[in-house]
Amino acid sequence: MASRTMNNSVPAAEERPAAGGRLRGLLARMPLHLVLLGFMLLWSLPTIALLVSSFRAPQEISASGWWTALTPPWDFTWNNYDAVLNQRGMGRAFINSLLITVPVTFLVLLVAAMAAYAFAWMQFPLRNTLFLVMVALLVVPLQMTLIPVLRLYTQLEIDAEMPIIGGRIFGTNSYAGIWIAHTAYGLPFAVYLLRNFFGALPRDLFESAYLDGASDVRVFFRIVLPLSMPALAALAIFQFLWVWNDLLVALILLGDPDMAPMTLRITNLVSSFGSQYQLLTAAAFVSMAVPLVIFFALQRYFVQGILAGAVKG
């Protein structure tokens, strides 16, 4: 091919190898793309199976494999979603999940950002030691803390009805209680991540702002937070997902079925009604919807955030 084009006029000879080069490049990358595609399918297979099953009737699910549903005749149904959202109290659980997750995410971000700012840019005694202790908390398994926290909560219980959102004011079966617990569990990592990000912001900016007459509070809100949007968005997504997907802490601290988040509801579906497999699949998808929305809303920052963190160290 190359030898034949040699005889052509000069411009054509230049164009052709370029086009051929692109084709050759594509061919050369083909195996890689195939492998990637294979992994992608393999990775998403369980999710696809779940999705397909969630639209099938219970008797079909037990009679044939999910893949048979992909060929005609199609008889998909909304019944599972209908049952989950309306008849099993899942709507309330959905709201409960939001009631738990959204405040926790905001609390973690706010407290962690303030702590990280102090650790990165303020001078105070034992700064490094305290930071080290904070990071060391990362290795404490959450499970180990459950019993002490539970005992503490029963002792500190304030047994009165919380207005509007319900539950106790504080203790077990209280939203405030689970907010604080989740926030505490989330803080070590959040502080660590943000401190490193803040620490990599150029020192000159802070000094310039101080000389311009800014206090630490001003610098925090006017300089640090706007410049740290990528890190904050990434952290928000992680934190949201962790709390949204949490089962253990909710199981321990929220016994009241009216306060249970989706994760708790979904497990109860399995245990209390035998294997209601069809409901489980629909419930799982309802539970996945919100994190997906959050992820796609923030994904621009999310990807950027990871890169920014990587480059700045």
């Binding site: 150029p202 000159d204 900016l205 000094e207 310039s208 702002a209 101080y210 000389l211 311009d212 007459g213 800014a214 206090s215 001003r218 006017r222 300089i223 706007p226 410049l227």
Partner: protein, 366 residues
Amino acid sequence: MAGVTFEHVSKRFEDTTAVDDLTMVIPDREFLVLVGPSGCGKSTVLRMLAGLETITGGEVKIGDRVVNHVPAKDRDIAMVFQSYALYPHMSVYDNMAFSLTLKKMPKAEIKRKVHEAAELLGIEALLGRKPRQLSGGQRQRVALGRAIVRDPAVFLFDEPLSNLDAKLRVQTRAEITKLHQRLGTTFIYVTHDQVEAMTMATRIAVLSAGRLQQLGTPQEVYAEPTNVFVAGFIGSPATNFFRGVVRDEGEGMSIDTGDFKLRVNPGRQAPLKDYIGREVIAGVRPEHIHDAAYQPADTETDELDVQVDVTEMMGNESLLHLVAGQSKLLARVDPRTKARPGEPLRIAIDTTELMAFDPETELALR
């Protein structure tokens, strides 16, 4: 507007002493340039004055007020950083207005001040842009503008021109000088570039290893350096130094380096009287060594035969690397010189400009 005083100021980081017993009075309206090699503590001096670094010992005063424990935000000081340190997420206008909004100045007045400063610096068209949309020179102007709008008591500059290309640097240099004349505020300017120091300063402070070596006008530090360090640091290319013994025989006083003898001008003999028969360090600036064929008419010179090693023709002048026995000399001579590498040359050294220093203390003899 205020003067600045350093009284026995020192700064120690864990194991290094960055600034050592610095005493310096900077009157109001002065353009003081702090100059010295990298790591000599220039930035540290500036940062202590700005309140960005604690002071280990001594007192820093702005006007009559001791500011050792006054936080940076209350010192009424503006600083232009080498990196410019513009707030990347704010527009040029907001960058310049930032300090004024913090002072709770009325909006209309902020607007007037920002536009005034922008006009002065020729950046009015850029006010809506973000810093990343500006060239280096434009950023530099915004950084200047941000300092100007504040009407601070003292302006600080830490190597503000080092990120600009050579041409822009010369231009901005002149503009900062003009700005100083116009604002009539105390300027303290850090640089390691002695050309910047000589051209801009009303007075120069030469620092080395955390110690103040000399404080004086550009003419003083050039013509009467207090020690070997200042003589070598100020002036470009650097001064030639030789060790030699002072002799006083027959035809008059001279310094004998072993390779050649430098006659001491009668006007410069008095401080050398105590050193007769002893060693001194002699210093000759390259611009005071001429090609004997093209020497200026009105000076007293001492002629000498040397060997030419390398020549650098610059057009307006020529640099000659010369060898005399074991000694090497650098000369900056008339461009018409006929000197060629490897050939002998007769040079004329201006004896009225000969410098001499004590070999132990390295202090100037005068």
